[in-house]
């Protein structure tokens, strides 16, 4: 159910490495500063397997973004080990192993919506026709048909963020890194996109790493929830959700859902009492 590799290849790999997309061991990251260096990540141990939907949840400043950026090779750890698809994050990045949705839309203001979504496809050297059809398809997925010719400033913040999601999806990466992608959206759009994302994940067997502040969102989407706490940023609980892969929003009323939510909340609370 988790494997998307041919079984012959999977069998030749050592048992522990099979299907591990991201492996992190004893990873630390300290941002240097002359007065007080920030210990952003402390002794992180985490394995993300192929097909996992992993959420990082925790208060602001606990290092969620930093951890995601380490996976994406946008930040270099101070010490510890990390591999992405069995390679160093730098090698994985050069092989375009992931798509990244930033916390802010990061659209280029001089490009129309369509051209923004086509940007990574241009860089990948796809044919113009392929660029257009992929961009159109993914804009439709985030309910933005008809906005192709608009410029970013003509869109609301939430719509801009949806463009940036379409842009990351258009790359069709096996690993999707999403940093609070739905933070700026209203509840209804958020629910809709949560369902879309879940469907996409279930159908394409992508691996998703997702940052959120919202407990229901984390529990609804994830197969694995990583609870983090700040100063120094560390993992305080990893919860494997037993919820089925194909879920609908109704699942939020079930006892299993509430039980997992409760455990996440407990984790967050214990993390907080450390310093407050």
């Amino acid at each position: 159910m988790f494997s998307c590799m041919p079984s012959s290849i999977a069998r030749t790999l050592p048992e522990t490495q099979r299907d591990a997309v991201v492996e992190i061991e004893k990873l630390n990251l300290t941002f240097p500063a002359p007065d007080a260096p920030v210990h952003a990540l402390s002794d992180i141990d985490l394995t993300i397997e192929a097909g996992d939907f992993v959420s990082f949840i925790g208060p602001s400043g606990c290092g969620k973004t930093t951890l995601m950026r380490v996976i994406a090779d946008l930040e270099t750890p101070t010490d510890g080990h990390i591999s992405v698809n069995g390679m160093s994050p730098a090698e994985a990045r050069l092989k375009r192993a992931y798509g990244y949705v930033f916390q802010a839309p990061a659209l280029y203001p001089w490009r129309t919506v369509l051209k923004n979504v086509m940007l990574p496809l241009e860089i990948m050297g796809l044919s113009k026709q392929e660029q257009r059809s992929r961009a159109a398809k993914n804009l439709a997925l985030v309910n933005l048909e008809g906005f192709e010719k608009k410029f970013p400033w003509q869109l609301s913040g939430g719509m801009q963020q949806r463009v940036s999601i379409a842009r990351a999806l258009a790359v069709e990466p096996d690993l999707l890194l999403m940093d609070e992608p739905f933070g700026a959206l209203d509840e209804i759009t958020r629910d809709h996109l949560n369902e879309q994302l879940l469907q996409l994940w279930d159908q394409t067997k992508k691996t998703v790493v997702f940052v959120t502040h919202s407990i229901p969102e984390a529990v609804f989407l994830s197969s694995k929830i990583v609870v983090m706490s700040p100063r120094p940023g560390k993992i305080i609980d990893i919860i494997d959700s037993g919820l089925p892969r194909d879920r609908t929003l109704d699942i939020r009323e079930t006892p299993e859902f509430l039980e997992i939510s409760h455990r996440v909340r407990e984790g967050l609370r214990s993390g907080h009492s450390y310093d407050d």
Partner: protein, 305 residues
Amino acid sequence: MTDIGAGITPGLWHRLYSGKTFPVLTILLSILILWYAGAVYMNSDRLIDQYERNKTDWDMEILIEDAWSMERPILPAPQQIVVELIDTVLGKNITSKRSLVFHAWITLSSTLLGFAFGTILGIILAVGIVHVQTLDRSLMPWIIASQTIPILAIAPMIIVVLGHLGLTGLVPKAIISMYLCFFPITIGMVKGLRSPDILQLDLMKTYSASSSDVFWKLRIPASIPFLFTSLKVAVAISLVGAIVAELPTGAIQGLGARLLAGSYYGQTIQIWSALVVASFMGMFLVWAVSLAEKATLRQMGGQTA
């Protein structure tokens, strides 16, 4: 009918009064009044001398009339300049050396060539400075130093050296104009090419984009608004450069040559009309660049620097 008229008139007055037209016209009127008064004041000494030498009777009215119609006044009256302009712009064959259009064209051509040179040089320097770290440190002090040397000191040297190399006419003047106008373009482009924020650059990194992709798809488009801001400054400066370049060459063609010849022979009216043409040319050039700027930025989604 009257209703409509009454509806329009207050609207028109209101527009004149609250818009820019009214204040601009007021200032223009004040300048004209001061100018005519100034012309009488500046020119009266010589006129009175003349009256006394010739023992003519004169009164205030005659003095004013004469002061506004001297052949070589210290300060010509505005209408004298207008008459001269009409005569030399419209009244002469434009290929004639007495036509201001001819001289304006000479200056305009070296301005445009100098502006083109300056734009190319400015952009190349900026690209080098942004992409090659040693250039940033080694080139920038020289570029700044180049602008602290007065152009009037360098211009004759450039003319002599280039003349020795067989370059005369348009090119040396364009090079002097370039020397003046590349600087704001370099500064603006360096700023523009460095304007993308960390997030925009990180995005490129996640696509593992080549540096040429980063340059063409991010740095260049981001720099366009900065480029146009500098171009507007540079085009006005390149006109100054072209005029200055005509002075040490002893040129007999071009607006600068008209200024120089005018001051040799005390032809103040000629000086002033060359000046007026130069000002209009400057305004026209800046306006043309603004127009190109508006069209380009509209194409690019209406961003501003």
